[in-house]
Amino acid sequence: MPEAIQIYIERVIEYTPRLVESLYETGIMMVFAMVAAILLGLPLGTLLYLASKGKSLENKLLYQIANIFVNIVRSFPFLLLVVVMQPLIRYFYGRATGDPVAASFPMMLIAIALYARFVEQSLHDVPKGVLETARSMGVTTPQLVWKFLYVEARSSLIIGFTTAFVSFISYSTIMGVVGGGGIGDFAIRYGYQRYETDIMYSAIAVIIVFVIIAQWLGLRLAARLDKR
């Protein structure tokens, strides 16, 4: 048995550089997805909220367009979304396969749609009294968003982001099909296709640890900011 462990350790050491490289690729995809979620998903979710019935920018058309976009992106089987987006990525980025940046495009799209939905839900949970107070003070819409909605919804926005983040990790594991690399690709290539299951399990363990850390950090931050 100790011999088996020794062999395992040697193999892990042997694969470590490739594992680190995969983590780096996953990292690139995750950063693109997170930035897109914050810079575009947050405003889109806020728009979904503000354009809904009875809210300050109530607008059926605008709401429906945003809503349909989110629904379509979210209901697409992710692997097919990756495939369908190929021509578009090629148009924007020059190439659609072979590196993690190209692979980030579908990641960004799903990140925007997914986080927008979380944001919309969080904002709908802000108590009516807060909105009434804001109106009675004669706020502009940007003031309503920044000084009232985001303040009162902040911990739930962070919890939503944490949940979205964990989903992004899961989505990123698919990107090997277009040569995006990443930890999921690593697990499949070395673990599954070459029957080196010990390496596959090690990679999965790394993913699990990442998810646990992300979840813990997110909840902790949310709890710290929640004074309700």
């Binding site: 108590p127 009294g129 807060v130 009434e132 107070t133 109106r135 009675s136 003070m137 004669g138 706020v139 502009t140 003031q143 000084k147 009232f148 303040v151 009162e152 902040r154 911990s155 900011l225 929640d226 004074k227 309700r228």
Partner: protein, 245 residues
């Protein structure tokens, strides 16, 4: 100061249209404390919300300080609302902001020529030692004091109070009544109070309108009770309420 002429408002309910305010005409003079009383569902809150345009009447006019509120555009409405303070039954504080941040909030939204300082107004409502606390750490009476401070900090021309004491026990109600009276004395505002608590009206108001099912039944001069019960001990209050006729 505030003139409401033939105001009507209906809401669509389960059983067809529901007349919340039905052809109400009344006039509130500057610097008076005016009560609006009635049972729940009588339309008191809706009527008061006409004044700061939280509700718009379906018909009729609301004229505040010479301005017809119905003619204002979005920008005009914001300017109009800026000078009207409001306090609420459930306080409506931002729970993720401290007492001090809550009170400062209106000053961050508009420029005011002559606002009070946050310290001044915190001292006025007696919450100096709670400045850094969050609303979740306060009692109901303290929360309403924060609500009052937040409304006063802008030196409003009009203060609207929507059931300001209905979520509070009797003791705390008297405290809040005391704070409101002191505020009106010191800051010289027109105060409008909506409540179903007759005691509050009796202690505070000069005049009161009585609403029933959306209609104005009567406007009466209130026989002002002079005693400020917020200075009395609990025992004295018990004697006054229970032993006096």
């Amino acid at each position: 100061m505030i003139d409401i002429k033939g105001a009507r408002k209906s809401f669509v309910g389960k059983n067809g249209d529901f007349k919340a305010v039905d052809n109400v005409t009344l006039s509130i003079t500057g610097k008076e404390i005016f009560g609006i009383i009635g049972e729940s569902g009588a339309g008191k809150s809706t009527l008061m919300r006409f004044i700061n345009a939280l509700e718009m009447p379906d018909a009729g006019q609301v004229i505040v300080d010479g301005i017809d509120v119905g003619t204002l555009n979005k920008n005009g409405l914001r300017k109009h609302q800026k000078d009207i303070g409001m306090i609420f039954q459930h306080f409506n504080l931002l729970n993720n902001k401290t007492v001090e941040e809550n009170i400062k909030l209106p000053l961050e939204l508009h420029k005011y020529k002559n606002p009070l300082s946050v310290d001044e107004v915190i001292k006025f409502v007696g919450l100096e030692d709670k400045k850094e606390n969050y609303p979740a750490e306060l009692s109901g009476g303290e929360k309403q004091r924060v609500g009052i401070a937040r409304a006063l900090v802008t030196r409003p021309m009009i203060l609207l109070c929507d059931e300001p004491t209905s979520a509070l026990d009797e003791n705390t109600t008297d405290e809040i009544v005391g704070v409101l009276r002191k505020a009106q004395n010191e800051f010289d505002m027109t105060v409008v109070i909506v409540t179903h608590e007759l005691n509050v009206i009796k202690q505070l108001c000069n005049r009161a309108a009585i609403l029933e099912r959306g209609r104005l039944i009567d406007t009466i001069d209130v026989n002002h009770s002079v005693t400020d019960r917020s200075d009395q001990s609990y025992y004295e209050r018990v004697l006054e309420v229970l032993k006096d006729a």
